[in-house]
Symmetry: C2
Subunit: 212 residues, 2 copies
């Protein structure tokens, strides 16, 4: 079971590492972080650099493709070589998945036309501009394509995916291993739940989440 | 606000990246991943290697110390040079925090004697062997020391910490940014919730979680 995670400068670390932490626990999992070329890749927080161990174009097998998002994903919607690799790996894969604005890359690659899909709550309109139907659900299965909502949702998606790949007991064992019994101290994780003051503050920090 | 995250081979990636994803969003945050020496460090999943950018011993300031766990933490409870760095950075820090079995390193460094603390559900007895009182709560504040339970709990802990460092609105804005509105597909994230079949499967895969 080879899991390929494409990474690029400006990806969001938790988009990749959340589902990675679930999926690498599958007994026969082999995870490959791959980039345009092997070497260091920096997430949107600037650090830590993560070492991509392969070039995407060199991979000749892929069972699960997991595309993270982040500001770097939004900047690559016209990056045809990357989109071509996503299309190629999707053809090889049993499952093509995304977290957060990773789904914009799937959409830009032409994989979501006519499908329901999710993305970060701030990016639904961009998703729809590529012919997908945006839904704010946290995990959306459409055949063998699975999209997850913003950042932390990749953990929920990965658990649901493990049930499909293996079975429910495997998913529950991995949930227990990572002690995923979430108890957020606040209830502000979605736009219809967050107080206006938090939305206003976020709009100051991250203009792209407000304008798009 | 300098946040220091010590890493070592065999750390659990999500222990570090979960709270990192929250804390690096603080407007004035500077995160430093540091190890015994700069260079690549491998998490317990074997990949991706992450580039530590500094040697722990070279850091002369630290506002938040965040110690991740993982099998590599369990193996370093007698690593006196690492424990000495943890003690030294704790003296500099406003907040000393841990995720998962990272609290075993705090305990082995002598920082948790007489305090309540949490850790991965499988490691409570080890924690107590160092004079701490284990509690299965997800986040435990004791003065300026904060411990979180297993792996994914670091996200909850980090949000609670942002409220203390900044205010509740900052914490809610970061929760919204990472769309942390968890909807686990199963309810198996704690030993008293997971079905026996999941626990049995996990005990086959990860003997240390069963025997300790």
């Amino acid at each position: 079971m080879r899991i390929v995670i494409p990474v690029f400068d400006g990806f969001t670390a938790l988009d990749a590492i959340g589902p990675y932490e679930v999926l690498h626990g599958l007994p026969d999992a082999q995870v490959v972080f791959a980039a345009e070329r092997p070497g260091p890749v920096r997430p949107d927080g600037g650090t830590p650099a993560l070492l991509a161990e392969a070039a995407l174009a060199d991979l000749d097998s892929c069972d699960v493709l997991l595309v993270p998002g982040g500001p770097g994903a939004r900047r690559r919607l016209d990056d045809e070589p990357l989109l071509e690799q996503i299309r190629r790996l999707h053809e090889l894969a049993q499952w093509t998945t995304s977290v957060c604005t990773g789904s914009l890359l799937l959409a830009a690659a032409g994989l979501l036309r006519g499908l329901e899909a999710t993305t970060h709550w701030s990016a639904g309109a961009i998703l729809e501009s590529y012919g997908a139907t945006y839904t704010p659900r946290r995990t959306v299965f459409q055949g063998r394509i699975v999209t997850a909502a913003g950042v932390s949702s990749g953990i929920d998606m990965a658990l649901a995916l493990v049930e499909r790949i293996a079975d429910r007991t495997h998913a529950e064992a991995l949930q227990l291993l990572i002690e995923y019994d979430p108890q957020p101290p606040f209830d502000a994780g979605a736009p219809d739940k967050a107080p206006q003051a938090a939305k206003d503050l976020l709009a100051e920090w991250r203009p792209y989440t407000a304008t798009r």
